[in-house]
């Protein structure tokens, strides 16, 4: 079976700086795949390259039989790739419901009311704040809103950039639990970039380790968790 997302030999530059030096990643339909790595390894760059901003200078990105390497962000998103960009980026002056409405842009065919109902089931707190403007939500609630907004369009692939960033451990666990629920109940494929390697590797089916713009390790979540190199570099040497 061909993977839903196939990144092969992708090289991305910021000016003369080569941020990705030939990355190969595959995500199969229905999987949760996580990408871990230290600061500056190129994790966010890979997510953004998949979304076409910046574009890959070499290599190919295929999504569900489409070559999306050269497409523009909004066209990629309309194919069924939803992303929550780094830093949540909710619309602060618009209400929770209006933010969710913006999520439906990518797929006008969805039943909005139904999507909102599902979003409020996943995140009841958003339902209570539906008429509140996005900027008045707490950090955790904003993250929930960003995820809910991305899910409204019923994407086939959900790209998440550090959903646990800046959240209290309890909230981060809650977010990860919801991601698992989304994956299991609706079969949404998830590609997750995380600093919080322990939780991300426990959640995922498979994982990649990115260092200096190259994939250095890959395997199932439990394999990577048990790997001494991963433990030393990303888990604070917890296993030694």
């Amino acid at each position: 079976m061909t993977p839903l997302l196939k990144v092969s030999g992708v090289r991305t530059f910021y000016g003369a700086i080569e941020a990705l030096r030939g990355v190969d990643v595959e995500v199969a339909e229905g999987e949760i795949v996580t990408l871990i790595g230290s600061n500056g390894a190129g994790k966010s760059t890979l997510l953004m390259t998949i979304c076409g901003n910046p574009r890959a200078r070499a290599g190919e990105i295929r999504f569900a039989d489409h070559d999306i390497t050269r497409l523009r962000t909004w066209d990629i998103v309309r194919l069924g790739v939803a992303q929550t960009p780094e830093g949540r980026r909710i619309f602060p002056r618009m209400t929770v419901l209006e933010n969710l409405q913006m999520g439906a842009v990518a797929n006008p065919a969805v039943d909005f009311d139904d999507g909102v109902r599902r979003a409020f089931e996943l995140f009841p707190v958003l339902g209570r704040r539906r008429n509140q403007s996005g900027g008045t939500l707490s950090g955790g609630e904003q993250q929930m809103l960003a995820i809910a907004r991305a899910l409204i369009s019923e994407p086939r692939l959900l790209l998440l950039d550090e959903p646990s960033l800046g959240l209290a451990p309890r909230l981060a666990r809650q977010i990860f639990a919801v991601l698992r629920e989304i994956n299991q109940s609706s079969g949404t494929t998830i590609f997750l970039v995380e600093q919080n390697a322990y939780h991300a590797l426990r959640l995922c089916h498979r994982g990649y380790v990115l260092a200096n713009g190259l994939v250095t390790l890959e395997g199932t979540g439990s394999e990577l968790l048990a790997n001494p190199a991963v433990q030393a570099a990303y888990l604070g040497g917890a296993g030694e």
Partner: protein, 481 residues
């Protein structure tokens, strides 16, 4: 002497003293030219009046701040009554005839108006204190802004509709109201670009000019009627909006503002120099006037035709056309407003607002920023084109002089002061920025001073604009689980 009353008195005296020092050269002294020699005369009554008003006004404000009801209410009402009285005295010429003693104590229109408005504001503060009395802070629920603004809007609209029929309304007032409404409409059009889509456009007057010249040229060259030209002018202006939009798609903030400013000047300079086409600085004259559903507003209709007054069997009165013009621009403004209110609830309007908030998030949600920005530029420009047509037909004459940068600047000021995106705020700001200066012509020299002061005060107290309330476009849906 440390009671709060003494402190208030000291504070009011201090403020009045400072105001007195500042006001003396401006208000107390008057330089007039008699013959060739400038002479310095004094205006002590006016000066003293100003200081007294400031003293009691400050006293009223600080009393209201401390939660008193009665004192500020009395002070406020007294100030309002005094200001209104002197306005009436001046308007009816009561002071000029006979009793000179009156005239000496009646201050100028400006001071009277300030005293009157300030008095009403202080009385309002006092009234609020009365309403709040005996309530715990927790019970002070925030005012339902959306509803209040809705009622304010309905009241303003009703007032605007009835204005020409009110007693005591003269030609000058209708003329000024027509001018204000033109700016309200332009402000609402620019509000789409600046307030909703967040694209700072300093060259909006260009589209106004395109609309005006489109109508002027079509009317003079082909003799087309106003109603045929109106959509054509709107479409041409929208086309120019797209023309401007393309090169500035990647720009935002200051850079966008500079390019749009340049675009506005380019259009004006082209109009000025393309003599064969636009008649250059001489402008275009004899532009057709609109008719009342085919009935012209002419004193002597051409042989075999009817005009407005013969058809309705009333005596000819030039005010008919003024009133018709007033209702015409009122209708155009209402259309602009209704359009904006409606489109905010549609995906494209929502995308404009989202684009203002965060362009990157928009891209990642599948919004095409190019089409979204171009549509905002085009639709905003279209309404400027309509307003431009109206301007041309009202004046009967257009020249590049009417489309200078200061017009764009005033329009941006209207939108920003009104509170970006707020429809009522724009209308109120247009009344303040365009209507008041027309009524205080005698203070024209100080207009820019007042402008600057107003801007500084707004930025200090209400950095988001007069009305920052944003009405959500969607209410509770689906029903709470």
């Amino acid at each position: 002497m440390n009671s709060p009353h003494a402190a208030s008195l000291r504070d009011a005296a201090l403020v009045a003293g400072i105001a007195g020092i500042l006001a003396f050269p401006f208000v107390g002294l008057l330089l007039t030219t008699e013959g060739t020699a400038p002479t310095l005369s004094t205006r002590f009554p006016e000066f003293a009046g100003a200081v007294v008003v400031i003293f009691f006004g400050r006293l009223g404000i600080s009393a209201a701040r401390r939660g008193h009801g009665l004192l500020p209410l009395v002070l406020g009402l007294a100030m309002a009554a005094g200001g209104a009285f002197s306005l009436v005295v001046e308007a009816t010429g009561l002071g000029a005839s006979g009793t000179a003693i009156w005239h000496a104590f009646v201050p100028g229109t400006f001071l009277s108006t300030v005293a009157c408005a300030g008095g009403i504001a202080i009385a309002g503060l006092a009234g609020r204190n009365y309403l709040m009395q005996g309530r715990q802070p927790a019970e002070r629920t925030p005012l339902p802004m959306g509803q209040l603004l809705l009622w304010l809007g309905i009241a303003l609209a009703g007032f605007a509709i009835l204005l020409p029929l009110l007693p005591g309304v003269d030609r000058r007032l209708i003329d000024v109201a027509t001018l204000v409404l033109t700016y309200v409409m332009l402000g609402w059009g620019l509000n789409i670009v600046v307030g909703l889509a967040g694209l700072l456009d300093l060259g909006y007057v260009a589209f106004y000019a395109v609309g005006a010249y489109s109508y002027a040229l079509l009317s003079v060259t082909f003799g087309w009627s106003f109603w045929v030209c109106l959509p054509v002018a709107g479409a041409l202006a929208a086309l120019f909006g797209i023309l401007l939009g393309f090169p500035v798609l990647r720009l935002r903030g200051d850079y966008l503002a500079i390019v749009t400013l340049g675009f506005g000047e380019m259009i004006r300079i082209i109009l000025l120099n393309w003599y064969d086409f636009t008649n250059g600085p001489d402008g275009i004259t004899n532009i057709g006037r609109p008719s009342f559903f085919g009935l012209p507003f002419a004193s002597k209709p051409e042989q075999g035709t009817e005009s407005f007054h013969t058809f309705f069997g009333v005596a000819y009165d030039p005010v008919h056309r003024l009133i018709f013009m007033y209702y015409l621009i009122l209708a155009l403004a209402f259309v602009t407003n209704a359009f904006t209110l409606r489109i905010r609830r549609l995906p494209i309007g929502r995308a404009w607002e989202a684009l203002r908030e965060d362009e990157i998030a928009c891209r990642s949600l599948g919004v095409n920023p190019r089409n979204t920005k171009l549509s905002a530029f085009a639709i905003g420009a279209m309404f400027a084109g309509f307003a431009g047509s109206f301007f041309a037909t009202r004046q009967g004459f257009v020249s590049p002089e009417s489309f200078t940068f200061i017009e764009s600047a005033i329009l941006v000021a209207i939108v920003v002061l009104g509170g970006m995106g707020s429809q009522i705020g724009v209308a109120v700001a247009a009344i303040i920025l365009v209507g008041l200066p027309e009524y205080f012509r005698e203070l024209q020299e100080y207009r820019m001073l007042a402008f600057g002061m107003g801007m500084v005060l707004i930025m200090l107290w209400r950095p988001g604009g007069l009305l920052t309330h944003r009405e959500p476009t969607i209410r509770t849906r689906p029903a709470p689980a």
